[in-house]
């Protein structure tokens, strides 16, 4: 399919391979056809990170799948934990304790901030603003320290948000530490908001995606909001405790790379707001359904099907799970937001762009090959 590219005619037409071994591309490639400085056509080249999640999940019980669901996206494992756990909760009709719901939201939002920080970092790196990259990864470590304290692992929480609630309660002093880290994050956002001329010049007016095209190509999350559509699953179809929290959905009309970058910064502010509210109202009590306190090996997933959707940092994530009465799900389909961002949207945006703008467009979509290839 991808190898059908016609040979470049003599002159200035070349085939240019961006990735999969490019330092700025992740495990993903784009095959560009360029004429001089202009990209004539782009073909996404996925498949370098395919691990077969959907099949693997059919061979594992829900608690094992909770651990597996970390790996769906390296940059925000807790959000993916949450989608999976919600699907199991709904299918098996498990009552999640109130405190667990609050902890789930706090952790998911911390994960979202962390993911946006990485996005800011690699976006800065792609546009030649190295200080932003160093700064972002430095501040990210404060959140990783928090994850280490709460979940026991820096990057992978190992199914911290599991069916029935969360696996551990907050340790002593976690609350104060979260507030301290949030202050640090506020400090970082202030630095990021300083308009950097290098970053602004590289990102403004680049990769414009109109709202019509965004909807047609299936964009969700920050990409769609950056094009001017006010949509957020947390507001439209609230899950957990999002209906009780006060936050705003940032929207920007321009639809260019800079607008998407701006959405990322604004969302971090909103996440901080959400976490502060949730910490204030955090009730006492159990953190997991009593029957799930010990990891359950023999469960019975009733016959039926559920479709659960969540807002993860990159867009809309969903799990479609079918049970057939056994201990393992019969089918588990995962919808990652990046599949549509990385193939149709990226191909559309790169067409007609300058070669120098490719990294800015590529990273402004906040893409992660892990949940695209699955």
């Amino acid at each position: 399919m991808i190898d059908e590219m016609e040979p470049a005619p003599k002159g200035t037409d070349y085939d240019l391979y961006f990735g999969p071994a490019h330092p700025g591309s992740g495990n993903f490639g784009v095959k560009l056809k360029v004429a001089g400085e202009i990209v004539v056509s782009a073909r996404a080249d996925p498949g370098y990170l395919h691990r077969g999640f959907e099949k693997l999940m059919e061979y594992r019980t829900p608690i094992q799948n909770a651990v597996l669901s970390d790996r769906l996206c390296v940059l925000e494992p807790l959000n993916w934990n949450l989608v999976h756990a919600e699907a199991v909760d709904e299918l098996m009709d498990i009552d999640v304790p109130e405190r667990a719901k609050y902890i789930r939201v706090i952790m998911a939002e911390l994960s979202r901030i962390q993911s946006h920080i990485i996005w800011y970092g690699v976006f800065s790196l792609g546009t030649g603003f190295d200080t932003g990259f160093k700064m972002a990864f430095g501040y990210r470590d404060y959140i990783l320290d928090l994850f280490e304290l709460i979940t026991g692992g820096r990057v992978y929480p190992a199914g911290y948000i599991c069916p029935g609630g969360v696996r551990r309660d907050f340790p002593n002093g976690a609350r104060d530490k979260i507030l301290k880290v949030l202050d640090k994050m506020g400090e970082m956002i202030k630095l990021e908001e300083l308009e950097n001329p290098a970053l602004g010049a590289r990102a403004k007016g680049v990769g414009i995606l109109k709202v019509k095209d965004a909807i047609r190509l299936g964009a969700t999350g920050p990409v769609l909001r950056g094009s001017g559509m006010k949509t957020d699953v947390r507001k439209d179809e609230p899950y957990e405790i999002y209906d009780r929290l006060d936050f705003e959905v940032p929207v920007r009309k321009e639809g260019d790379a800079y607008a998407r970058y701006w959405i990322g910064i604004e969302e971090m502010k909103q996440s901080i707001k959400i976490i502060k509210q949730a910490l204030k109202e955090l009730p006492e009590g159990e953190v997991i359904d009593p029957s799930w306190k010990k990891p359950k090996l023999s469960v019975k997933i009733p016959k039926g099907e559920v479709y659960v959707r969540n807002e993860v940092a990159r867009g809309e994530a969903a799990v479609y799970m079918v049970g057939d009465g056994g201990s393992k799900p019969y089918r588990c389909k995962i919808r990652g937001p990046d599949f549509l961002h990385m193939i149709p949207v990226l191909e559309y945006l790169l067409k007609g762009a300058q070669i120098a703008d490719v990294p800015a467009i590529y990273w402004s979509l906040n893409i992660c090959p892990a949940d695209m290839d699955r």
Partner: protein, 129 residues
């Protein structure tokens, strides 16, 4: 706008760096960190739950070595750290708290046989050798 950099510059000059000088000092590891396993053979009742729940099948129930077989006649977990994802489900499901995850995260090695933990009695081993 350009002058805004000056107070930041002075702040950065006199503030501590974000990193630590790693081999000499390190960030303390919190309680509950999921690192290398500590396994107590005497507490183990050979139920095999850890092997069943392990998502990566890193735990296998095997018989004890010949020299201690008379004292430990059942099967015991052999943990392959190379396959382990350090999720801690074995620790959570163990009814006798015989497996625990410790804070040790220095697990890189040049010798692939080092990553497999065979069942060995905890105290006896130190006494004998």
């Amino acid at each position: 706008m350009k002058l805004r950099i000056i107070p930041k510059l002075f702040k950065n000059l006199f503030s501590k760096p974000m990193t630590v000088r790693f081999p000499h000092e390190s960030i303390p590891i919190p309680e509950g960190y999921r690192g290398e396993h500590a396994y107590d053979m005497d507490k183990c009742i050979s139920c095999g739950l850890c092997a069943k729940i392990c998502p990566n099948r890193a735990i296998e129930m095997i018989e004890a070595p010949e020299d201690i077989k008379d004292r430990y006649p059942k099967t015991y977990p052999k943990i392959d750290l190379g396959k382990c994802c350090f999720c801690g489900l074995c620790e959570d499901i163990c009814p006798k708290d015989s497996i625990e995850l410790t804070k040790n995260f220095f697990l890189s090695t040049f010798d692939p046989t080092n990553v497999i933990k065979y069942p060995t009695p905890k105290v006896e081993e130190q006494v004998n050798g």
